[in-house]
Symmetry: C2
Subunit: 306 residues, 2 copies
């Protein structure tokens, strides 16, 4: 799906075949991710759980976030409470830093106009890692990783684990959502959240609470104008993007919900998806790395078939 081709029509019009340049080896064709998904069964997919799905409503459209209660139970509970008390409604996207993150929260956090938290918590102890026993669905990838002893996927999220330490955590791949904090581990709580919009900043792993993943709407966030260097905070209020509302999907009338399903990352089909990315076939590919970077592993999402 991600072959760096000239326009697809070019290959067809020019009738390109497997004639090889001098010195190039030919790789046999292999199933692509698309080919693997065509062979998937209905049971390989699961619908989003409406009680653990957030809608971030922006002027440009809806961003859909799947929450990960296994990895951040207290923060997920608190973020849903914040959404339900309308804490986020009318706040704004306050930051876009190129090749790093987009962040939202209260532009007036530090002045007397700051929005007050009602029934939810303003801060919580960090959930940077959780015990391995929290996670029942980990499927390990065989690929080496520089940041963690083991990497793979759990319940639709990229994850890592350290068996010696007895810890597991979600990893900062593209589209992952985390909880901004100050210097203290317990200074975040979900009133300000960020989404990774660049090359995975894995140095943040185990340093901050990760609560979920954007499953639809990334282009809305990733194309927002970058704020001024170095950190991309929108210093001029006019750059801020107003948040219409953040809603728990379960609170939205069924007819207004987005119907998405995610490939089960514990399924054999997903293992085949990973292998299709690890080893790519000809004719376009001339070299196959036999390796997959955790944060390049696609986690397929599609419209739910009703």
């Amino acid at each position: 799906m991600q072959a760096l081709q000239k326009k697809v029509v070019a290959a067809l019009v020019l009738g390109m075949t497997a004639v090889l340049a001098a010195g190039a080896k030919e790789l046999p064709p292999r199933p692509s991710v698309g080919d693997v998904l065509k062979g998937s069964k209905p049971g390989d997919w699961r619908p989003l759980d409406a009680d653990n799905t957030l809608y971030l409503e922006l002027p440009q459209g809806r961003v859909v976030i799947e929450l990960a209660p296994s990895f951040a139970p207290n923060h997920v509970r608190n973020i849903k409470a914040l959404a339900r008390e309308h804490f986020y409604d009318g706040l704004a996207i306050i930051r876009s830093q190129d090749n790093f993150v987009v962040q939202w929260g209260d532009p007036h956090e530090d002045d007397e106009q700051a929005r007050q938290v009602k029934s939810a918590q303003k801060t919580l102890p960090g959930e940077f890692t959780v015990p391995l026993s929290n996670d029942k669905q980990f499927t390990r990838m065989r690929d080496v990783d520089g940041f963690a002893p083991q990497v793979g996927h759990s319940g639709g999220f990229p994850a890592a684990r350290d068996p010696k330490a007895g810890q597991t955590w979600l990893t900062h791949c593209y589209g992952m959502v985390g909880v901004a904090r100050g210097n203290e581990s317990d200074s975040g709580g979900g009133t300000s959240l960020y989404v990774v919009t660049g090359h995975a900043p894995r140095q943040l792993d185990r340093n901050i609470t990760v609560v979920g993943r954007v499953v639809a709407g990334m282009p809305i966030l990733s194309t927002l104008p970058r704020g001024p260097a170095p950190m991309g905070f929108y210093e001029q209020p006019g750059m801020q993007v107003p948040i219409g509302a953040v809603k728990v999907a379960a609170d939205v009338p069924e007819a207004e919900r987005v119907r998405l399903e995610v490939l089960r990352t514990e399924s054999p089909t997903y293992q085949a998806v990973l292998d299709a990315q690890r080893n790519r076939g000809g004719p376009w590919n001339k070299y196959s790395p036999n390796y997959l970077d955790l944060c390049n592993a696609q986690i397929p999402v599609r419209e739910q078939k009703l």
Copy 2:
């Protein structure tokens, strides 16, 4: 520089100190990348070579590309010839795929209005790898990499090498520029180029010719609206972004050039920059990975001091 903080003012206003949450270990403070650069010497920096710098002139501004003749001598020569015969002027950005690439070229490549190449070559044999002897400046990183036996930097570019095969190549990190091709290894030549705008698609390494790196102007490219799935080609011509011109900097009057300098990646200062990213200190960081992903290694660029 990339700490995921709440607004910087928050840390100051709230007077955050190094009080620790239960269970969190305190990391000693360490120099940041900014701290290291403050201690750099003038000789640690080199100006861009105007003869190997391209300006991509777009309505939104100028994108500056440093070319890498050591890694793709024939393609670099050809791309400069294409620029000098005004091949690109009036063509367009034709593709933006989320978390992957932006690509430019001739929207009419496949029809009778296709722009013709004059003195330059339309296609060239691929330069996917080059002999190790091409590269005199490699400085190896000690960090493991899943895609290559060795990674590091050479002349300001992220690079990898395989000593057994006697090969070296540039890697597909954020901002790297490559040569689109069809299925054949020799079907590209520089008439269509792409820039990485997402998580590093390292599976393209050794599969395509990489010619350089964007050293200024990435936000212009990274925020372009995404084209339709799956590949992001702008199917409606109205989405295409017209290219005013692509110029070799040496052909531009000196007063109109951008004056940038790049930290020498073979300098001890750059090794300290890498180490500042590999091991980060407190108070913000609670865990330090003691690891740096090649494609997260910043390559500092600044305004030239005259």
